[in-house]
C-alpha cells in the first residue's frame, strides 16, 4: 500500500506541479518567518527584558576587588544613597545578566567562559541618571545603560516580536487552510475515481495515501526552503549586528528542527483532517 500511495501520490504531484510548488512556497514563507522571528526575539531578549526594568542600572565592579572590599564599597553606597537598592548578582546568573546589560562584552564572556567575570551590581532607583556618579568611582569599570531610549528600544522590540509572531501565526494558519483546500479540490477532481475505488474494495487508507504523499512532498520542500531562508536571513542580520559591535544572531538547531517539523506536520494535519471529513460524507 505504501508503494501504491507513493506511485499515485507522485502522479498527483506531476499533474499539479505548479500548484504544489505554490503550496510549498506558501508554507515556507510563514514557517521561515516564524523561525526568524523566534531567533530575533531570542537575540533581542536582553533589550526586551531590560525594558521592564527601566529603573534598574547595572554597575560593573573591578574584577580584582576582594570580597571585603566589595562589601565595604556596597555598604558605603547604601549609606551615601539610601534611595538606591543594591543587589549583587549571584555568580550562577552572572554570565547571562552581563550579556543582558553589556552585550558588547560578548568576547570576554566567550573567551573566559565565566571564569574571570567581573562582579555585577544592579541598582534599583527612581532616578537612574543619579547612578552615573559611580562612573568616577575607581571600583567601577562601567555603568550600564540608563537612558529612556533603552526602554523605548525594548518596547519596540517587544512590539515587533509580537507583530511578527502574529503575522507568522496568521500565515501559518492560512497555509494550513491552503493545504486543506488543495486536498479538497483534488478530492473533488478525483471524486469519480474515489467512488470507484470504494466500490471495488479500497480501504480508506489506500484512498488517502496518495493525497497524503502529495501533500507531504510540498511540506518537505517548504521545510527545506524555510531552513535555508532562516539561515540566510539570520546570517545577514548577524553581519549587520557585528558591524555595530553587537553579538551575532545564532540559529538554534531546535528552531531548525521545529521548522522542518512544521513543514511536515502542518500540511499533513490539514490533509488528514480534510480526508477524514471527506470519508465521513463521501461514501457513494
Amino acid at each position: 500500500m505504501i508503494r501504491h500511495a507513493l506511485a499515485e501520490g507522485w502522479l498527483l504531484l506531476r499533474h499539479r506541479g505548479l500548484v504544489s510548488l505554490f503550496l510549498a512556497l506558501a508554507l515556507a514563507i510563514p514557517i521561515g518567518l516564524a523561525g526568524v522571528t523566534f531567533s530575533v526575539m531570542r537575540w533581542l531578549e536582553p533589550a526586551v527584558g531590560t525594558a521592564d526594568r527601566a529603573n534598574v542600572v547595572a554597575v560593573l565592579l573591578h574584577p580584582h576587588m576582594g570580597d571585603d572590599q566589595r562589601a565595604t564599597w556596597l555598604e558605603g553606597q547604601r549609606r551615601e544613597h539610601p534611595e538606591w537598592r543594591l543587589e549583587v548578582v549571584a555568580p550562577e546568573q552572572l554570565a547571562r545578566r552581563l550579556g543582558h546589560w553589556f552585550p558588547y562584552l560578548k568576547d570576554l564572556l566567550e573567551r573566559d567562559g565565566g571564569a574571570m567575570l567581573p562582579p555585577l551590581v544592579e541598582i534599583t532607583t527612581s532616578d537612574p541618571e543619579s547612578v552615573a556618579v559611580l562612573e568616577r568611582s575607581p571600583a567601577v569599570i562601567a555603568v550600564g545603560p540608563r537612558t529612556p531610549l533603552r526602554s523605548l528600544l525594548g518596547r519596540v522590540s517587544r512590539g515587533l516580536g509580537l507583530a511578527l509572531g502574529a503575522a507568522s501565526a496568521v500565515l501559518l494558519i492560512s497555509a494550513a487552510l491552503l493545504a486543506a483546500v488543495w486536498v479538497h479540490l483534488e478530492l473533488y477532481r478525483h471524486a469519480d475515481e474515489i467512488t470507484i475505488m470504494r466500490l471495488v474494495g479500497a480501504t480508506e487508507s489506500a484512498i488517502r495515501g496518495p493525497f497524503l504523499v502529495a501533500t507531504v512532498a510540498p511540506g518537505l520542500v517548504a521545510g527545506g526552503l524555510a531552513l535555508l531562508g532562516t539561515t540566510a536571513v539570520l546570517d545577514g542580520l548577524s553581519r549587520l549586528a557585528e558591524v555595530v559591535g553587537l553579538p551575532a544572531l545564532t540559529v538554534s538547531p531546535a528552531v531548525l528542527a521545529a521548522q522542518a517539523g512544521a513543514g511536515l506536520v502542518l500540511p499533513l494535519g490539514a490533509a488528514a483532517v480534510t480526508l477524514m471529513r471527506h470519508a465521513a460524507v463521501g461514501e457513494e
Binding site: I196, R198, E283
Partner: protein, 222 residues
C-alpha cells in the same frame, strides 16, 4: 450466500422494493430480471452495500450487510466482484492498470497483479488493448474491461448489473459463457438483465421483479 429478509427500500417515499424475501445458495447462477424500475439495480446495490434498506435484513456470505460499518465495507466488497452497468473504469488509467490497481487492494504483489491482469484480459480477448485508455475503447470493450476487473481477483460472488447492455449478441453470448464457466468453478453469479434473449439462452434460476416485489422465482423458461 445471499439472504434477504423482509427488505423494504424507499427513495423519498417511493417504494422500490417491498417485503422482499430471497435466498441464493453458494454456487447458484441466478438471473434477476424485470422491467425498468422494477428494482434490479437497487437489489444489487443492497448486496454490495452501496445502499441500505429502509427496513429488513441483508446477508451476504454469512455477514449481515444492511448496517455494515464503514470499516468492514472494503472487506465485504473485496469478496464481491461487481460488473457495473456504466463500467466504472478509471479514465486516467490504462486497461491493464485498471485491473492491476484493484488487484493491489487485494494485496496482490505488483508482478503477480500484472500477470493475472494480462491473463484475464487475454481470456476476454483484450490483451492487445492493454495499454489503451478506457476512452479509446468501444462500449463493448469497456464492458469487457469492467468484467475483467471483476474476475481478476476470483471473487466467490459476482454481481453483474446489465453486463450485456453495450454488447452485441455474439459478445453477450461470450460473456454469458464466461460467467457460466466461473459459476462452474464454484462462484455464485447474480446477473441483472432485462434482455429476454440472454435469459432464455441458458436454463437457470430467474427472479422476476415487478413493482418492487418478486413476481416469479424459478427456473427460466418456466
Amino acid at each position: 450466500m445471499i439472504r434477504l429478509r423482509s427488505v423494504h427500500k424507499e427513495y423519498d417515499g417511493r417504494k422500490v422494493l417491498r417485503d422482499l424475501d430471497l435466498q441464493v445458495d453458494a454456487g447458484e447462477f441466478v438471473f434477476v430480471t424485470g422491467p425498468s424500475g422494477a428494482g434490479k439495480t437497487t437489489l444489487l446495490r443492497l448486496l454490495y452495500a452501496a445502499e441500505r434498506p429502509t427496513s429488513g435484513e441483508v446477508w451476504v456470505g454469512g455477514e449481515r450487510v444492511d448496517g455494515i460499518s464503514r470499516a468492514r465495507l472494503p472487506a465485504l466488497r473485496r469478496r464481491i466482484g461487481v460488473i457495473f452497468q456504466d463500467f466504472k473504469l478509471l479514465r486516467r488509467k490504462t486497461v491493464l492498470e485498471n485491473i492491476t490497481f484493484v488487484l493491489r487492494f487485494h494485496g496482490v504483489a505488483p508482478r503477480e497483479a500484472h500477470r493475472r491482469a494480462y491473463l484475464v484480459l487475454k481470456r476476454l480477448g483484450l490483451h492487445h488493448r492493454q495499454s489503451a485508455l478506457p476512452d479509446a475503447l468501444s462500449g463493448g470493450e469497456q464492458q469487457r474491461v469492467a468484467i475483467a476487473r471483476a474476475l481478476a481477483y476470483q471473487p466467490r460472488l459476482i454481481l453483474a448489473d446489465e453486463p450485456t447492455g453495450n454488447l452485441d449478441a455474439d459478445l453477450a453470448g461470450e460473456l454469458l459463457s464466461l460467467l457460466c464457466d466461473i459459476n462452474y468453478q464454484g462462484a455464485t453469479v447474480v446477473l441483472a438483465t432485462h434482455d429476454n434473449g440472454l435469459l432464455e439462452s441458458i436454463p437457470a434460476r430467474a427472479i422476476v421483479l415487478h413493482g418492487g416485489g418478486i413476481n416469479y422465482d424459478g427456473v427460466w423458461p418456466p
